[in-house]
Amino acid sequence: MKVVLEMTLPRDAGSAPLARHTLDASLRGLGVTFDIRADIALALGEACANVIQHARASREYEVRAHVDDRRCVIDVIDGGRDTDPVAWDGTGAPLNAEHGRGLQLIQAFTEELHIKDRAHKNGAIVHFEKSLAG
């Protein structure tokens, strides 16, 4: 079985819990275990928070989730940032920093984290995957 879920969300803070809960309800319906759903919810929440806080040139953004029996593959796509693109060197934030832990958490709890610029368009794509095998 395959399930594709696409959400176009306003770039406001309330969109993060909305996206998390919508995907979580689908995954629960598909029988995905609590722990794996929690990992996915955290990573999705972080990706949404990143867009909400940094993609100031976007009014909306998209969340695309492709789920099959083995994997959940997620892309969070924004329409542009007024500062630098998503920059990350793979390390965590300085211990005393108030920001900068989001991508670290996505990497810790999911797989295949990639951040890329959109081809021929403004904006960035945060991609990650999660094995559903447990």
């Binding site: 803070a13 309330g14 993060a16 819990p17 998390r20 722990d35 929690a38 919810a41 955290l42 929440g45 972080e46 949404c48 928070a49 909400i52 806080q53 965590g92 934030a93 211990l95 005393n96 920093a97 108030e98 920001h99 900068g100 832990r101 989001g102 670290q104 958490l105 810790a108 709890f109």
Partner: protein, 119 residues
């Protein structure tokens, strides 16, 4: 789950019990509440995470900010309780190196259980 918060005094401690999701949507309210408590004179904050259903990096950022604010006035911040999922984000981000993570509120308010906040 909708975020809410309550607090109570316990000796010289202020125990802040949080409920629901702490995320980019609710973290500003959490920040305002904690700043208000510190502004009103609370110097030993214990944050009870037992009823927290979700915690992301924006919530962690609030705790780090409050930690700095408290430390400037010789205060302390301790984190207590929480589901394994919620506690894990403190370990992954190594924040357990700057403030203590206790199993329970009782552990956090016990004199010997208080972490010494070093820079």
């Amino acid at each position: 789950m909708e975020f809410s918060a309550g607090h109570r005094r316990y000796g010289e401690h202020t125990i802040v019990a949080l409920t629901g999701d702490i995320d980019v949507h609710s973290s500003q309210r959490l920040r305002e509440l904690l700043i208000e408590l510190v502004g009103a004179g609370s110097r030993r904050l214990v944050v009870d995470l037992d009823q927290v259903t979700f915690l992301d990096s924006t919530g962690l950022g609030v705790f780090v900010g409050i930690f700095h604010r408290l430390r400037a006035g010789n205060g302390t911040l301790a984190i207590a309780g929480g589901a394994p999922r919620v506690r894990e984000v403190f370990h992954v981000t190594q924040l357990t190196r700057i403030f203590p993570l206790h199993e329970t509120v009782e552990d956090a308010v016990r004199p010997a259980g208080e972490g010494v906040l070093e820079p």
